[in-house]
Amino acid sequence: MHRDIFPAYHARSCHYNLLFPMKADTAIIARAVTKRYGSLTALDSFDLEVERGTIFALLGPNGAGKTTLIRILTTLMRPTSGEAFVSGLNTARQGREIRRQIGVVPQENSLDRYLTARENLELHARLHTMEPKKYRRRIDELLELFGLAGRQHDFPDTFSGGMQRRLVVARALIHEPMVLFLDEPTTGLDPQSRRAVWDYIRSIAGRMTIFLTTHYLEEAEQLCERIAIMDHGRLITIGSSAELKAQLTGGATYEIEFADRAELFAEALRRMSCVGSLEIADRVVTVKLERWECLAEVVSALNGAELRRISLREKTLEEVFISLTGKGVRE
């Protein structure tokens, strides 16, 4: 619906672009965005750019500032300083125009339990000033797409967590937004429901920019082309999953499976200077090498051993995340 009116908004916001040169294919920009609550700084000169039409994930531990950033981008909150733009529109000055173009899936389901699934969608269509003829057809499509057509006249209280979440996503898509914000969309869902939500997100990818925050690193890895990690209100790193893993310094981790005498060879490996750490579980020895180049030394040390397997263990996004944000539990 709003694709056709977007160029007009973009043209209107050109004077902002003179101040903050914005590429035509950029959907979201944050420039030195700072948000303070008294003495607490939730966002600290935060800079970010998200390309149009991509799926972007923002990761961070609890209290990192993810939700504050989403609230600023969705015009629910004003930054203390700095500026943010969504589809070329300034969040501080063009809130209503931005809200026409965005869909938001908040952390809480925020469904109206006194309205049926269909009535929930109808209410939001009216809030987006859609005409009945248009929204009735759109609601039929969405209910069908999200597998809720058979339950459209039931109240959300009677739905499973996964169905409620799907209804919230459907509600956010009712007006065909240009940018979809998903704040921890699968938190609390069972693996099946989580994968169903992923499938829906993938199915709509490309048609809109998707900005996602999540605690599930696998989710970010599965869905997103670009991933940013933030902590203490600051952006720490940004890139594709592979780029982030490549940033993880240090050597490689190998798993060596022995046919027998694993303890004996593990002891020999432990004495080697280039072995950083070593763990043994049954007949599998996991060694972390200081440098990958010392693999040759390891292989020499295993001379005479009956080996079943030597494999390189892939670095995980979780390792990147922990290495950047620390192991401490956040309140």
Binding site: L76, R99, I102, S110, D112, L115, E119, L123, R126, L127
Partner: protein, 252 residues
Amino acid sequence: MNLRGAIAIWRRDMLVLRRSIFSELVAVVAYPLTIYLAFGIGMQGYIGPVDGVSYGLFIAPGLITMTAVNAAYNESVWSLWFHRKVQFTIESYRVTPISVSEIVIAKILSGFSHGLVKGLAVALVIFAITPFRFPLTSLVAYLAFLIPGSALFSCAGVISGTLMDKPETIGRVEAVLIMPLIFMSGLFFPLSSYPPAVASLVRLLPTTALFEGARQTLVNGSFSIPFSASLYLFAAAAFAAALLIFRSKLAE
């Protein structure tokens, strides 16, 4: 200001009211009806005429008005609190292209509508069980008090529902502020019962303008312009305050 968003939320509230209208009305009518049966009928013989009319007739306009304004207050306060703190629907409205003012207006309209519907229900019951009949002109004039009165209490409900984060605080406000204001304004007794100095202060209360003005209109057939004007002024001020407080709360 575009009110399409406000109307959409008001329609939602009316749909929910329609679904539960019978159970709501039973609860709403029971309280004033019990008071009426106890005081207006049971105690009437012991109390005798007040200001030249039977005690039952004296308190009837106040009971109808009390039902309406209580319903307006309760709907606004609980609806706003529930949608803000429990269901988070206010948050979901705020990411659509409607303004914060439209949300406030919708909630005030909903409280006001609840007040009118429930006040009317009590009026019909009281008319059904008593011989009191009011001229049509008095009934129309009475609306000049009931409408701003319901709007005033609806705004008060929006303010409470915005400021109070705990449900028990909402209950306390009702117990220590709303009900005393209603009872002090001469719902069950004439203002002449107060010492003159106190009476002149009580006359300044918006609830006195509402209850005394409503009674004079229905029982005596006289229309008090000062009471009516004062009530509209209070309602306008409460509306401005509700808008301001709701906006600043959401900006926090």
